[in-house]
């Protein structure tokens, strides 16, 4: 919730504007199937930057291109201003946290974490000392001698994090790192990741298809669809001023009327006969479905002139007597005129 408030201003990251990763016209196809078509993207130093999109949208491809696991068909990939598109992964100052963690099963945790340091010819004793410190930072100091198979999913996740971060990369790439964890652990790890990023100041590029995760953690988010970037912006930008119907629909729940976006929580439901105040717009219809969700109640309204609208109302007023409406009730959906947003109205697509 805090982060959302942070992002209210449109000048996010004003204090850190130095670009660290830049993609310029990067395209990638796999045997004729377009994975990425001419993408431009700039990530600033110190940012928590998220690549958000449904599966197959190109977000993971983008991450793999930055890591060096894939080579672009065309375009440039700049790391600290230097084109690294032709460099192999082991010559790039980035590290990756893999979706399946990719821990080496035949090595102990300390050997896993020291792997990158040893690869850079650091003496064993020193590498292991640093690895143990990194394990301590993720609360796994007592597990240094174990093998990955003896750990739980959350513990493995933390080892993967320590293994990447111990190398002090310029950029840390995270490929849906929390996807395999249960909800509670995921929330815990989200906070942990935020804390680590704040403490180390390392730039994070984070891939996820989970919009809640993206909104709650990121400084900025790039929304991917069909191999292209739909919009880059803060959580506030994406939610309140989506650049496309896709973004409007993908980020949060939405009612889209023509090129107008109405967020369900900004709508009100009143009995059919009720008068609507000045400055409000309205539509008539009947309740098709009503779901009580604790903090809110969600209603689906079938409009008289066709289509449906989703309304979410906070349960602020005590509801001793039960819900205000039942399926079949004739209702009016009303909203202040200022709540309606023209999609793509004032925000540029792509880069700010």
């Amino acid at each position: 919730m805090d982060d959302t408030r942070h992002g209210l201003g449109t000048t996010t990251g004003a204090q850190v504007t130095q670009p660290i990763v830049q993609l310029e016209g990067v395209a990638k196809t796999y045997g004729g199937a377009v994975a990425l078509s001419r993408v431009d993207l700039t990530v600033h130093a110190g940012e928590f930057f998220t690549l958000l999109g449904p599966s197959g949208s190109g977000k993971t491809t983008t991450l793999r291109l930055i890591a060096g696991f894939e080579r672009p068909d065309s375009g440039r990939i700049l790391l600290d201003g230097q084109d690294v598109a032709a460099l192999p992964p082991f010559e790039r100052a980035v590290n990756t946290v893999f979706q399946d963690y990719a821990l080496f099963p035949h090595l102990t945790l300390v050997e896993n974490v020291a792997y990158g340091l040893r690869a850079k010819k650091m003496p064993k004793a020193e590498a292991h000392a640093q690895a143990e410190k990194a394990l301590a930072a993720v609360q796994l100091a007592n597990f240094a001698g174990r093998k990955p198979a003896q750990l739980s999913g959350g513990q493995r996740q933390r080892v993967a994090l320590a293994r990447a971060m111990v190398n002090r990369p310029r950029v840390l790439l995270l490929d849906e790192p929390l996807g395999a964890l249960d909800l509670k652990l995921r929330h815990q790890m989200q906070q942990e990741l935020k804390r680590l990023q704040n403490e180390t100041g390392i730039t994070f590029i984070y891939v996820t298809h989970d919009q809640d995760e993206a909104l709650s953690m990121s400084d900025r988010i790039a929304v991917f669809a069909q191999g292209q970037i739909e919009q880059v912006g803060t959580a506030f930008d994406l939610y309140e001023r989506p650049a496309s119907a896709f973004v409007a629909d993908f980020v949060g729940s939405s009612n889209i009327l023509g090129n107008t976006l109405l967020r369900p929580e900004k709508l009100h439901l009143v009995p059919h006969a009720h008068a609507v105040p000045e400055g409000f717009e309205k539509r008539h219809g009947s309740v098709r479905e009503i779901v009580y969700l604790g903090a809110i109640t969600r209603a689906i309204v079938a409009l008289e002139d066709g289509g449906t609208m989703q309304v979410m109302e906070a349960n602020i007023v005590p509801v001793h007597g039960g819900l205000r409406f039942a399926p079949g009730d004739s209702v009016t959906v009303a909203w202040p005129r200022a709540a309606s947003v023209i999609i793509g109205g004032s925000i540029n697509k792509g880069e700010q």
Binding site: A67, G68, F69, P88, P89, F90, V94, N95, T96, F98, Q99, D100, A102, L103, F104, P105, H106, Y115, G116, A119, K120, R163, A164, N167
Partner: protein
């Protein structure tokens, strides 16, 4: 129908009994035929044979073993057999890696199928035909020397020698190494190799520190094949070996099929059993059977 129901219910309540019923027959077969054969071998190794009539004299005598130990030639033959089996195994490991790696990591689906077929095809042809082919290749006026002379090199005198056996054995058993190594390479998640590269390890370091240790069970499984197949062979030494190329199997063969001194053959045949037992123990230590 009721009996069927009762049986399956019983099997469900007592899974141990159901398994015993299923495995009983193969277990009986194993114990009856396989172990009995080894038992007969061990017992016979303490018997002796009447020289002129060829009749067996049952009993308990250590004569055969004393003869084996007292005659240096049998130690030499045993060392030769084990030594060449080890050399063949190491050679096949080295040869199998590039093939297995290319097959799994570099080739696309179609090329992989073609390579797999190429590896398997020799196994469909006669073992003898393949050994004879090598005999022709390595002979004095054979293909190898013809090729050497064509490019202006002197002849190689490796036909009918331990070198020839090493080459032919390595060729014969290579598929038995490639297949398990390829299978274990295939089991390594690609993300591990990416992770290694991502952490700064170059190609060879990734091979040495990730692929090699992770494919160890496959290599050991392949080594069990190449080692034991070489250890027990006697046909290849007979066909492509030269002077001083006898294997344990040749001594056993000549004592069984030719000399009719079965007890002596049995005593000598106990040796490879022991060698394989040690080999399998080491293999188990290395985790070769973890994936079974």
């Amino acid at each position: 129908m009721n009996l069927k129901k009762a049986l399956s219910a019983f099997g469900w309540r007592r899974p141990g009994m159901a398994n015993a019923a299923l495995l009983g027959l193969p277990a009986l077969w194993f114990a009856g035929l396989y172990l009995a054969a080894i038992g007969a071998l061990l017992i016979t190794s303490f018997w002796t044979v009447d020289d002129l009539s060829g009749n067996l004299i049952p009993g308990f005598s250590l004569t055969n073993f004393q003869q084996l130990l007292a005659t240096p030639v049998y130690t030499r033959i045993a060392l030769r057999t084990v030594g060449i089996a080890a050399a063949v195994t190491i050679t096949d490991v080295i040869l199998a890696w590039p093939v297995a790696y290319a097959m799994i990591r570099l080739a696309d689906q179609r090329l992989r199928a073609v390579m797999m077929a190429a590896v398997m095809v020799p196994l469909w042809s006669s073992y003898l035909a393949r050994v004879y082919a090598w005999r022709v290749i390595l002979a004095h006026n054979g293909l190898l020397n013809w090729a050497l002379m064509e490019i202006g090199l002197p002849r190689a005198h490796i036909g009918y020698s331990n070198w020839a056996m090493w080459i032919v054995f390595s060729y014969l058993w290579l598929p038995f190494m490639i297949l398990p190594v390829a299978a274990s390479v295939e089991r390594i998640p690609p993300s591990l190799l990416e992770a290694s590269s991502d952490l700064g390890a170059r190609g060879f370091a990734t091979f040495r520190r990730v692929m090699l240790p992770m494919a160890l069970p496959g290599m050991v499984a392949g080594a069990i094949f190449t080692f034991s197949l070489t250890l027990g062979d006697y046909v290849t030494p007979m066909l492509v070996g030269g002077r001083g190329s006898d294997f344990i199997g040749n001594v056993v063969y000549s004592n069984v099929g030719v000399t009719n001194n079965i007890p002596f053959a049995a005593a000598y045949a106990v040796l490879p059993l022991g060698v394989m037992a040690v080999f399998l123990l080491i293999a188990r230590k290395l985790g070769a059977f973890d994936a079974l």
